[in-house]
């Protein structure tokens, strides 16, 4: 293997133009895939407040439908309040609203911020990093206490640097007392992202409590050892028993699934809601492979055209005892080494692109990073690329007849 690797490197170094063209194609492809993987990891990976995705089931979407009418969108508070409490296999559950953009004035300055209404359990299901103070509890929700938790950037905008706990800010016509300050949450963590969090019960009206479709979402933290499928099934049973109380609608549907499955079906794959995450992951893999197909075909083509150039070598190796298998191994290793170099280059470029993305502020509070998970995906994608683009040329080369190869004939 050592000599095969050595030869692979020598071949690549001596064929500089081929190596440059191939490396460019491989590195650019892997760069795009790695940046995508880093973004997906930032959305779905165990980071920030959502650090237990494997134990969290979420309910995002709901739909009520009848013969004439159909309403769908985020889940309603009424639906979640009837289905989530005391769910077997669930340690804690929370109901929280989608973010709402509000504009307020503070000491004569106009400040726009995203607010999110939550219950007290929200702070137990999701784990925020508190810089000062503490979250509000369930009592704040039941008693409609005028309190708020703010992000560090919001603290700075309202109060400037320094402690903010105990200070007040005015939002939506209410004066709220700051009880805690948390580290910023990236905006693409859309379950938990906000600038200001406040109790749901501070709403001006109670009408939201009846809604089956509305502007809320639910999350359940599974108990240790609980089976997610059982919990999903129980949730579906509960949904089936929720009264609709509206003659226009006959059916109600909502699904509890992993964050990844729920988000993917909510935003990207409309028809896949309720399907296992494996299906969605499969679709993502298919997209990645299709994206890799073009440069892989290009590399296959380049490699095939090099058979002519390497015919003599193949003939010599076969003459001196190389089996077809040994040659397939050699050419595959060469291709994997090339893909590996492309992968390493892509990793460096990805780190640069991600740092630039973070600095640009395009996605507020985002901190994309090349962590071990993303690098792991990179290695896997690199291997897939190297093998896929190398197998056919390697097989074709290994099948050459030694005499024909030595004479430059290919039949």
């Amino acid at each position: 293997m050592r000599s095969t690797l050595k030869l692979a490197l020598k071949v690549l170094l001596r064929r500089k133009f081929f190596t440059f063209v191939s490396l460019f194609a491989v590195a650019f492809t892997l760069l795009v895939l790695l940046v995508s993987a880093a973004m997906l990891d930032h959305i779905f990976g165990p980071q920030g407040p959502e650090d237990r995705p494997d134990r969290t089931l979420v309910v995002l979407k709901a739909e009520i439908a009848g013969e004439q009418s159909r309403r769908n969108g985020w889940a309603g508070y009424g639906l979640l309040a009837r289905t989530l409490p005391e769910m077997p296999g669930v340690e804690r559950s929370t109901i929280f609203a989608v973010v709402r953009k509000l504009t307020t004035y503070h000491e004569g300055r106009k400040i726009t911020c995203f607010t999110r209404r939550t219950d007290g359990e929200f702070w137990n299901v999701f784990r925020f990093q508190f810089l000062e103070g503490a979250p509000y509890g369930q009592d704040a929700e039941t008693q409609a206490l005028p309190v708020a938790v703010v992000s560090e950037s919001t603290r700075d905008r309202f109060f400037g640097p320094g402690r903010a706990v105990g200070k007040t800010l005015e939002l939506d016509g209410r004066r709220l007392r700051v009880v805690g300050v948390v580290r910023n949450v990236p905006s693409i963590r859309f379950l938990t992202f906000a600038d200001v969090w406040l109790p749901t019960s501070l709403s001006r009206s109670d009408a939201y409590k009846k809604d089956l479709v509305g502007d809320f979402a639910g999350a359940m933290l599974l108990a240790a050892g609980a089976n997610a499928d059982d919990v999903s099934a129980e949730f579906a049973r509960r949904v089936a028993n929720v009264p609709i109380n509206d003659d226009r609608f006959k059916t109600l549907s909502a699904h509890a699934s992993t964050l990844f499955g729920a988000v993917a079906s909510f935003f990207v794959f409309e028809g896949l809601e309720g399907k296992p995450p494996a299906v969605i992951l499969g679709v993502l893999w298919l997209m990645a492979i299709l994206f890799m197909a073009l440069p892989a075909l290009n590399l296959i083509n380049l490699n095939l055209s090099r058979i002519l150039e390497r015919a003599s070598e193949i003939g010599v190796r076969k003459s001196f005892g190389a089996t077809s298998g040994a040659l397939v191994r050699q050419f595959l290793v060469e291709n994997i080494v090339l893909a590996g170099l492309g992968g390493a280059l892509a990793s460096v470029l990805t780190a640069i692109v991600l740092a630039a993305l973070n600095r640009s502020g395009l996605i507020p509070h985002a901190s994309f990073a090349l962590n071990f998970r993303v690098l792991g995906w990179g290695v896997l994608l690199t291997l897939v690329f190297g093998i896929v683009s190398g197998v056919l040329p390697a097989w074709r080369m290994s099948r050459l007849h030694p005499v024909g190869a030595l004479q430059g004939r290919f039949e």
Partner: protein, 220 residues
């Protein structure tokens, strides 16, 4: 060492059937130095390829060390070639990407052999052809004669019993050709069996025996 009995080789395409070898029966004893002569296209190289197990005959039997080579799989034939046969080609067929040492090492890569042992054998083979000082050069940095000596070192590095040389001096001037012939004669004196295709009667005369072919048939 090697025996061919009624060997024929026919190449078929959609329209044409070409008989390259027709009823060849030859026995080459261990330690012999045999030359093969004949006009272009008479089947000399085909005969060498069949002897070296690079090409399978269409008919007849090839036996190596008394064992008929019949129904062998790719892996088995490759293993036999590696262990028993060395090749020297007219156009050298050195791999331009590799140094002299790496080129010579090729046959040993397909054996179970430690790196230190491989390096030792490569050094010995290069010493035998007088190219120790050129071990780190690339083929393009060498003269034609030196390149052919590298090719000979590659052919003998695995200590094969049979060396098949296809016009080894064909691309060289007479002085370099003589040098190569001197190396081949020395190897033969040390016990290597050699079969060499040549167009040069002078070189053929220096071998123990000459096989003459004409239109795929053995005429002498």
């Amino acid at each position: 060492m090697i025996r061919l009995e009624d060997v024929s080789k026919v190449y078929r395409t959609d329209r044409i059937e070409t008989t390259a070898l027709d009823g060849i029966s030859v026995a080459i004893d261990r330690g012999a130095f045999v030359s093969v002569m004949g006009p272009s296209g008479c089947g000399k190289s085909t005969l060498l390829n069949v002897m070296g197990l690079l090409d399978a005959p269409s008919g007849g039997t090839v036996s190596l060390d008394g064992a008929p080579i019949r129904g062998y799989r790719d892996r088995e034939v490759a293993s036999l070639r590696n262990a028993k046969v060395g090749f020297v080609f007219q156009s050298f067929h050195l791999i331009a990407d590799l140094t002299v040492s790496d080129n010579v090492e090729i046959p040993l890569l397909y054996r179970r052999m430690a790196g230190a042992e491989r390096r030792k054998r490569v050094a010995t083979a290069l010493e035998r052809v007088g190219l120790t000082s050129r071990r780190d050069h690339f083929p393009t940095q060498l003269s034609g004669g030196q390149q052919q000596r590298v090719a000979i070192a590659r052919a003998i590095v695995g200590n094969p019993q049979l060396l098949l040389a296809d016009e080894p001096t064909g691309n060289l001037d007479s002085q370099m050709g003589d040098e190569i012939m001197a190396v081949l004669h020395e190897l033969n004196e040390q016990g290597t069996t050699i079969v060499m295709v040549t167009h040069d009667p002078r070189l053929a005369e220096s071998t123990h025996r000459t096989i003459r072919l004409f239109d795929g048939r053995q005429v002498q």
